[in-house]
């Protein structure tokens, strides 16, 4: 009897809460014609290398009946120097620029950097969220991104289903991107000599990137939420970096006399998997956000990524948030620090991003609610990338500052 009573009270409370929440949502939908704007500008700078300024504006509009329109605009401006893949040597080295029209010189004992590196990128992303019924929702997305030598077009669809009293959500998503690259000076033929009259396979090439994701999100208790995702991806087409080269050494460890630099060549397909786990835990007014990802692909790259953010509330309106991220990567099976004359493999790249690698990032965020409908935050971080194996490439040290502003208008 007691049990029956308690069950009926629960039922009444559940109905009352649901009606209250849906009533609130309805009044917000019908009376609210406002846009929510979230914006950020990122200043990213690597010591002696690349600098990036990247403003992003994202808009969200409640279209009523739980339909939402999301738009995101990104502008990316990149300047500075990028490693070309060649090793440093005890004497100065001369390289041909990608266009083949000029050369640049790297001093002795310095990592060769291509200083002609620059880029601007504009990207637009649009999403339409719509409910299919009370517990299922679908989000359709489309995106376009344009750089002077690269363009990407993509579409995506994400489906979610709430059940178990809305305590469990299953998600399934798919995305496909069709990319085209038009490198300066044409697409170099892989593993042929860098020269002003390089061999090319044409003026452009293409790549297709597909992704599938399956996920489950579970409410554990009143202050804990957990998510597990499995992402399966497949890439095909041109995945080589057309601007990267490798040094070829002779038997005595010096650059070989003829054609000392070859353009890199990567496989034209890759299948990837990532298993991603995340938890959000509330402690009084504070929140811990913890995630782990295991990634592996058929290039033999595997990695562990762990990220933690702890949000300390400072009263009702302000917070500080220390963040730490650690990434450990095993190299691709075609990564070489340099090649050796007479033993040129089918695929090869000296791009340090394919090497045994460790990335450590520390960041700190401060946020303040300016009023009910606006919020400001600043985030400052430092990132270090270092070799985690035999390849003696130089560390990459970067600093970033990010300003965020959110408002409703």
């Amino acid at each position: 009897m007691q049990l029956k009573k308690s069950k009926s009270v629960r039922k009444v409370l559940a109905v009352a809460t649901t009606s209250l929440l849906s009533g609130m949502a309805h009044s917000a939908n019908s009376g609210d014609n406002s846009w929510e704007m979230d914006s950020a500008v990122l200043f990213y700078s690597e010591a002696d290398r690349v600098s990036v300024i990247e403003p992003v504006v994202s808009l969200r509009k409640d279209m009523g009946d739980e339909h939402f329109l999301n738009l995101r605009f990104v502008f990316d401006s990149l300047t500075g120097s990028s490693p070309n893949g060649a090793i440093k040597t005890s004497s100065a080295q001369t390289f041909t620029t990608p266009s083949g029209n000029s050369t640049y010189i790297t001093a002795a004992n310095e990592t060769p950097l291509d200083s002609t590196f620059h880029d601007t990128r504009v990207a637009v992303n649009a999403e339409w969220e719509k409910p299919l019924n009370k517990t299922t929702k679908v989000t359709y997305g489309a995106n376009i991104s344009k750089e002077f030598d690269y363009q990407s077009l993509g579409v995506s669809a994400n489906f979610s289903w709430d059940f178990n009293n809305r305590n469990t959500t299953l998600t399934a998503g798919a995305a496909i991107n069709a990319d085209t690259i038009n490198p300066v000076g044409g697409v170099p033929t892989g593993l042929t000599a860098m020269s002003a009259s390089k061999l090319t396979t044409g003026s452009d090439d293409t790549k297709t990137v597909t992704d599938l994701i399956l996920g489950v999100t579970q409410v554990i208790n009143r202050t804990t939420l957990m998510q597990l995702n499995l992402n399966i991806g497949s890439d095909s087409g041109y995945m080589t970096d057309p601007y990267k080269i490798l040094s070829v050494l002779d038997g005595s460890g010096n650059l070989r006399a003829t054609d000392p630099y070859l353009y890199e060549k990567r496989p034209d397909s890759r299948s990837r998997q990532a298993l991603y786990w995340k938890t959000v835990m509330g402690f009084s007014d504070d929140v811990l956000n913890l995630s782990y990802r295991y990634y592996w692909d058929d290039w033999d790259v595997s990695s562990h990524t762990i990220e933690a953010k702890y949000r300390f509330s400072l009263g009702d309106k302000q917070y500080i948030q220390p963040e730490v991220r650690y990434y450990l990567q095993d190299k691709a099976n075609f990564y070489y620090y340099n090649l050796v004359d007479g033993a040129i493999p089918t695929y090869a790249s000296a791009d340090y991003r394919l090497a045994d690698l460790k990335t450590t990032t520390l960041a700190f965020k401060y946020g303040i609610d300016l009023d009910k409908d606006s919020e400001f935050a600043v985030r400052i971080g430092k990132m270090n990338q270092t070799s985690n194996g035999d390849a003696p490439f130089e560390d990459v040290d970067a600093t970033f500052v990010q300003l965020n502003y959110r408002m409703v208008f």
């Binding site: 994202s58 990128r121 990407s152 995506s156 999100t217």
Partner: protein, 72 residues
């Protein structure tokens, strides 16, 4: 095939553990707060994934869609 099967088993175990988890609708006050969402700061996540996409070989896991870039 072994690995995806293990993943599937982990997922199944994860879902089957759900029966003892969860809250009632009136116990959602804390979970409804913005700071308790899986992605409380979407632009932080977007900018981070853009940086790491261009500096590391691994990508994905948190979601799909949103676009590609040359990022060399």
């Amino acid at each position: 095939m072994k690995l995806p099967i293990s993943i599937f088993l982990i997922l199944t175990a994860f879902i089957s553990g759900c029966s003892s988890w969860g809250v009632q609708p009136w116990e959602r006050n804390k979970l409804a707060e913005k700071k308790m969402q899986l992605e409380p700061a979407l632009l932080d996540s977007y900018l981070d994934s853009h940086i790491y996409y261009s500096k590391e070989t691994s990508s994905g896991g948190a979601g799909v869609g949103g676009g590609g870039c040359g990022c060399n």
